[in-house]
Subunit: 155 residues, 2 copies
């Protein structure tokens, strides 16, 4: 499976992983803090935190020896998941829970609800269907060039 989106989906497309990352982005770092925020079985939480650490989302630090306790700090790779989560949250709030969103994202300073929009830093334009095309990257295989990026890709 050579699609980077599918790779990302494998890592991020899991409810627990997303909830753990969201909790971390909003301040949780210790085991008990994740557990307080998420009604998650502790064996599941242990397993997920270990896997997310191995995958590079967290770095782990021992902060207490007896009993042994770890702290999980987001790496830069982990912190950069925030825009994906905010975009997913905004989309879901609009389309899945239009009048009953359980939470909202606000600007930390002004406390006004944010209206997330994805733009291209190069052109400043909003990224919309039709405005972007997909082209083979340096790692594209012959099959990918022939099929996924075939004649129907917009551009």
């Amino acid at each position: 499976m050579e699609c980077t989106i599918a790779l990302a989906a494998g890592l991020l497309g899991d409810g627990w992983n997303l909830l753990i990352l969201r909790s971390a982005l909003f301040g949780a770092s210790r085991f008990a803090e994740f557990q307080d925020r998420l009604a998650i079985p502790s064996t599941t939480l242990t397993r997920r935190l270990d896997a997310l650490t191995d995958q590079g989302f967290f770095s782990r630090q021992r902060y207490e020896e007896r009993p042994p306790r770890n702290e999980y700090q987001l790496t830069e790779m982990g912190r950069e998941v925030l825009p994906i989560l905010v975009a997913m949250g905004a989309w879901a709030g609009k389309w899945l829970t239009p009048d009953c969103a359980p939470f909202e994202f606000v600007d930390s300073e002004t406390r006004r609800q944010v209206e997330p929009v994805l733009i291209d830093r190069v052109s400043g334009k909003e990224i919309r269907p039709g405005g972007v095309a997909v082209v083979p990257g340096p790692g594209a295989s012959a099959r990918l060039r022939r099929t996924v990026l075939g004649p129907l890709s917009l551009g």
Copy 2:
């Protein structure tokens, strides 16, 4: 599960669903077009297209009666998945396949690679950790207010 991100993850966090949506966003609408782009078993493709239609991502139109053939057009809800996919693709390209991205997103007109960045349309500021806080929405339960959105949420 009251978290909208988790709801979105349930729908979007699946490799096949994302690949189907990506193919649609870049031009596929007929069964054979999806099949050509994705090495997907046809029973899986049928099941996924039906489910994505029921969930509101596609509308289905019969374009041929004998044999019966359907076309799947993205709804507005489906089209608005694009920013999430582009954000995921950019994140994965940077962190998972830094030198061997299988594909890249380019501006349709200039053909220059896009650098997606999520901004707040209200303030114009980039959305980054620490810059946004999460607050209860109209549908927040008492438990959610107490835990997920507890004292550690940034803001």
